[in-house]
Symmetry: C2
Subunit: 471 residues, 2 copies
């Protein structure tokens, strides 16, 4: 979450080499875990300070997740001021909540004061109002104001993710003055890649990358080398939208501004990478019918979160069953139909989810828009037609041979063609439509597409059979 | 793909504001497209230079994708030397290939010489050997050698994605010397955030971030402020693995070294973001049964790429059908079974894909490992049990009422419980097992899981019925 780039960690650098704590599979080495466990049991502060406090925040986060839940708070307490609170931004939300709930507010306040504002906000935003106020009250004035301002922005907004520490200079300074200021100033951010140019009211005038400063003679003015910030991020902007701006324009960091264009913070690529990951994960999980669950959630939590999706699917399955029940008489006479009907429905479902997956992804990456939608719809219909013919012929031949009945072969072939076409059209039109009306296509496309392919599959196959055999 | 951060584009900065060419939905505005189309038809070079050449490479890429295929080459030809070849790294592979195939090799060589080495490699790697050699032959010696070296590394390796332009200094230089060098040197990379410290044989000694240089007094030695590069990336390392290192340690750029530890290039976060996106996309597409297709692929290409997945699914569907055919006698007597059986199989399939989605994602992000695998397996089994009981009771009650038969209600309830348990266990064990044997769980988990839930569903439901009613 924090500190662009690695930090200088003198002393224990060697012992904190990533190879040291991870095995080949990328899991934390079991012997290291055992050593840490023993040290916690023995209250061996020296060992922990030497081998745990020196870890990178993400490694420490992995370690917290890997040790026994009962060891987590004791380890943090033993580390005391040497515990890097940033590590908590690297663990599952439920684990973070558990730890923070058990920590005294004074301890949290002391630790929060040490870390970057974006990480502090990340931890504070999940706490209840009362705890949050108590912690904020114990922070120095400027820090309290900064954090409150970030917390006032809506959840998942750029304002929540931004860092409030940045370097800003007036346009009339020279490059030399700027460099001297950075050499003398103690209160600079941990690390940064660009400096901002502002007027006395903090209105953003421009931005200068560090490499440009280093390439320029000392006497040149900042306003001469600054450039327009083409892409300042409004603090209210959704983090996903901000991530898209970063991606499109290959930004490393961007100024975050309030409604009146005043600089309030900086959004950095490391936080944006996390957002990109989360968004990609969300789409994948939603397509699979899973909500915002985490690996550390409990059985009742998981079970509850998955029930709603299964319930919707139960209703559509009953709907499909009721289609079958229309043809009970036909099935009673030709049981082969009952044997074959899941093939038609299932293949339609698979073809539909192929098209749907491509469509949902293309919508998420904004590759699919009004300029090519019609072309893509026609293409998917074409693919459905070709694959419908291919698999219609295959299954027709197979079913005809299996049941020694050319009629059944012909009927299933036709039904397969119809259902593959339906699958293709549903697979593209349903996500497009959901997107058009402002719904998230990843969440609900799958249910609708399967409903279409199940009902079409059963209806086409059983209906054709009932008509052909006049039952 | 290239040029960390925005570039200074004097002059037409205003007219290239992103708001100018995009509408609210993020599509390119139709009137802008019409203007460009007219300018291409009229061979209006002035308009194109003013309004198209000034676009950001990603905007230009979008524009190329949005205009009619027949207009693409004419537009590029009209732009001539003003065309930024980097834009081609932003378009679909098939469109890039189409354009590059039509461009004369001399024109490609001239354009390639203008862009960063990582982008040049990105374009060159898709060409056939002959064209590639011809283009390389027309480049200046140093550039040719650099590009050849990058192209010699395996596909999707860090060596292929790296930029060969970087700033490297000896450890005994002072900060002042380093700054003076950067002020005077003409051949610096477009932009950079850190400089490397090397010995005379190019062996990597350390790294210094630009902000550290700016904070340090001129007389200090570089070796005093450089730090160990904790995470140098071997050039042969897979790009996905390199991306994980970037993510874990929040890197902005990292040194790429050869087998003997010599600095050969630098990998930057903007390229890594693309890799992260691609990998997330790959998992999503594979879970949906789709290969490496692109929105611009033709119908036969798409159709062919999807057939293999559908073929595998056809075989498993036939397998499931053969399970049903074992119970033809039972179905003939109680047609209600045919009506209800897809519900049992389908619900199992949905529950299984929920578990599978979570598992595949956790494996991809390395959140699931030997330390928690057993716990997660038990948890999923618990979720399967609870949801099996919930949905068993629901469907049992419903089916009993529908067919006025308490026996059918009891049978479907039991079968549902069994299949939900099977779904949970298959949903987690199959991806874990595939991962263990080195197969990609995203590719083949879905087929195996559905096979298990279909067969278990049909067998449990029809088998129980056949046993209970002794048919």
């Amino acid at each position: 979450m924090t500190n662009i780039d690695e930090q200088v960690r003198p002393g224990h650098l060697r012992s904190a080499e990533p190879d040291d704590i991870y095995d080949e599979d990328g899991s934390i080495r079991s012997d290291f875990l055992a050593l840490v466990g023993a040290a916690i049991a023995d209250r061996d502060v020296l060992f922990l300070r030497e081998n745990v406090a020196s870890l990178h925040e993400s490694e420490l986060g992995h370690l917290i997740e890997a040790i026994h839940p009962d060891q987590r708070l004791p380890m943090i307490t033993l580390l005391g001021v040497d515990f890097d609170m940033t590590a908590l931004t690297e663990v599952d939300e439920s684990i973070r909540m558990q730890i923070v709930d058990q920590m005294p507010n004074e301890q949290i306040a002391a630790a929060i004061g040490e870390i970057d504002s974006d990480d502090a906000v990340y931890i504070l935003e999940d706490l209840d109002q009362e705890d949050r106020d108590e912690i904020l009250a114990q922070l120095p004035f400027t820090e309290r104001v900064r954090l409150r301002r970030a917390l006032d922005y809506p959840e998942s907004s750029a304002g929540r993710r931004m860092q409030t520490e940045f370097v800003a200079v007036p346009p009339f300074w020279t490059v030399g003055q700027t460099i001297d200021y950075m050499r003398d100033e103690e209160e600079l951010p941990e690390s940064f890649t660009q400096i901002f140019v502002i007027d006395p009211t903090f209105k953003l005038l421009g931005v200068v990358n560090l490499d440009r400063i280093l390439r320029t003679k000392r006497m040149e003015k900042i306003e001469g080398i600054m450039r327009d910030t083409n892409h300042p991020i409004p603090a209210e902007m959704d983090q996903e939208e901000a991530a898209q701006v970063f991606e499109q324009y290959d930004l490393l960091s961007a100024a975050v501004v309030d409604e009146s264009g005043r600089l309030v913070g900086v959004l950095t690529i490391d936080d944006v990478v996390d957002v990109i990951q989360e968004e990609a994960e969300e789409d994948l999980m939603r397509l699979g019918g899973v909500g915002d669950e985490e690996l550390s959630d409990s059985i009742p939590e998981i079970s509850r979160s998955r029930v709603s999706w299964l319930l919707v699917n139960l209703l559509t399955a009953i709907l499909a069953a009721s289609v079958i029940s229309l043809f009970e008489a036909t099935i009673e006479q030709i049981v082969a139909l009952a044997v074959l009907m899941p093939i038609v429905a299932g293949m339609g479902g698979n073809a539909g989810s192929q098209t749907m997956t491509v469509t949902v992804r293309a919508l998420a990456t904004r590759n699919l828009d009004i300029h090519n939608a019609w072309r893509v719809v026609r293409r998917e219909a074409g693919v459905g037609l070709i694959n419908g013919i291919v698999f219609g012929l295959l299954i027709g031949l197979f079913a005809g041979l299996w049941f020694h009945d050319v009629n059944i072969g012909g009927i299933i072939a036709t039904a397969m063609l119809i259902n593959m076409m339906a699958a293709a059209i549903a697979g593209i039109l349903i996500p497009l439509l959901l997107d058009k009306i402002g719904a998230d296509p990843a969440v609900s496309s799958a249910v609708f597409v399967t409903t279409v392919t199940d009902i079409t599959g059963f209806f086409a196959f059983l209906g054709l059979a009932s008509w052909w055999f006049s039952i």
